[in-house]
Symmetry: C2
Subunit: 307 residues, 2 copies
Amino acid sequence: MVTTALIGLDWGTSSLRAYRVDAGGGVIERKSARAGIMQIEGGDFEGALEREVGAWLDAAPGVPVLASGMIASRQGWVEAPYVACPAGVGELAGSMLTHVTARGRRIRFVPGLSFLAEDGVPDVIRGEETQILGEVGQDEDARLLVLPGTHSKWAVAAGGRIEGFSTFMTGELFAVLKQHSILGRLMQDDRDDAAAFAQGLSYAGGAGSGLLKRLFSARTLGLFDRLPASGIASYLSGLLIGTEIEEALAWTRGRRTVGEVTVIGALQLAERYRGALEAKGRPARRAADDIVARGLFRIAHAGGLLP
Amino acid sequence: MVTTALIGLDWGTSSLRAYRVDAGGGVIERKSARAGIMQIEGGDFEGALEREVGAWLDAAPGVPVLASGMIASRQGWVEAPYVACPAGVGELAGSMLTHVTARGRRIRFVPGLSFLAEDGVPDVIRGEETQILGEVGQDEDARLLVLPGTHSKWAVAAGGRIEGFSTFMTGELFAVLKQHSILGRLMQDDRDDAAAFAQGLSYAGGAGSGLLKRLFSARTLGLFDRLPASGIASYLSGLLIGTEIEEALAWTRGRRTVGEVTVIGALQLAERYRGALEAKGRPARRAADDIVARGLFRIAHAGGLLP
């Protein structure tokens, strides 16, 4: 049996992903549970930890345990203050917060990052920084990465450090419009409609107006029989994702980045973004799974926790 | 007693406003009821009509009755097809739909307008066209008007005709974000916070990114103690209204308009828009109340219904 060198936890709002990692950084075993911080009753994080990975911890006493994500936020187990960008694995390792559980387990919490953008407005990430640092190499030129989701994160990384990032409320906006707006009430028999998605995508961005105006097209195109009710959801998705891409590329203007845009995320959503980026003229590729385990391994290594 | 020359109805989704109008177009009497088409049980529009203005109708038999607004939509009493822009009172009068009620009342329904924008996407208004045509004169140069609300409408009118318009989902977006998003959950003890409104307004628009990114500032500014929880709602309102103004002005670029922007709406919201426009460098003024009655009068006149 391969020896465990590190137990890594990617512990977010809606799920816990856990990894047993070997001395070379390879994943020996992984598990995923719907044990995100919002699903844990009464804040019993220790109970959840024992339930999900207690056996791993028992089998590998003394092995470092690192946790990244919202578990280290005000709503989580401990609050690790944000570290300012630019930052790499060294800064994150140097600012980890250690907590010893009632059972005597020592858990190290990776902090999130803050970034004060050129426009003077702050932004934050928590969990995505570890994924990004599992993906980018130490000696790389500046790259652009995106982590799509409820709150999509775009980041520029160079030389193994995250230089800046930006958050877009795309997924959440889609959800509230679908569930609670007139656009949602017009949707019927939703299906994955590639043509409607492309139609929304191509209407996003460009000069002449913006999203607040364009949203209403999801109503009027149906009124004039140019969009089926079953395609409104796909159309809205395309319009929002297209707007996000246009805004993100506007945000990166002036930052030189090379090569493809890297999309980090679950297969279906990542593929949707990859296709949308390609349609907007930006080559893209999807990152490997489990890069968060590699990120945690690198942070542990930078912190001198590995042999 | 002044003789009634016209009974005008501005009958929308959430309210019915009714006017007794004299032969000179002046309002003799007005009433307002929460009898919008969404509040009328079982589609009993005739019952609502009799309840709200039956006495007026009895007292002025044979007087023309005109109704504008969502009452003439698919969800309303009769569906009057949209008339294409550019259009003025003549086109609207020529496309009215007449309906005789069970009691023998003759009601004329004013159609809404459609507009195929330069970007090829259609837009519609229903009710606002009558307000606008009550406000603008026949011999005027091109003017810019805004009707703020759930779905804000911006229009360009010249020579007494509406040349084009554009819809912005500002009010609805504010409502769904406040009620259903993480931004709403962060709001506490909302108060009307002028400084927070101005802060949101000034962050709206301009180069470098867009609304999807800027929305998240309503979360992060609070996280860094630069916005009180009680001011998040005002901040979000400023950010959305500012974005609407920037998008609308981008939309009108290339259309020459003269003078102040005219804001049509209830006092408080109209004043908020007027102030926001002035802050963005566009002088603005609020239109008089009851312009919808004047619009209905002009349409009736154009239709040869008045002596």
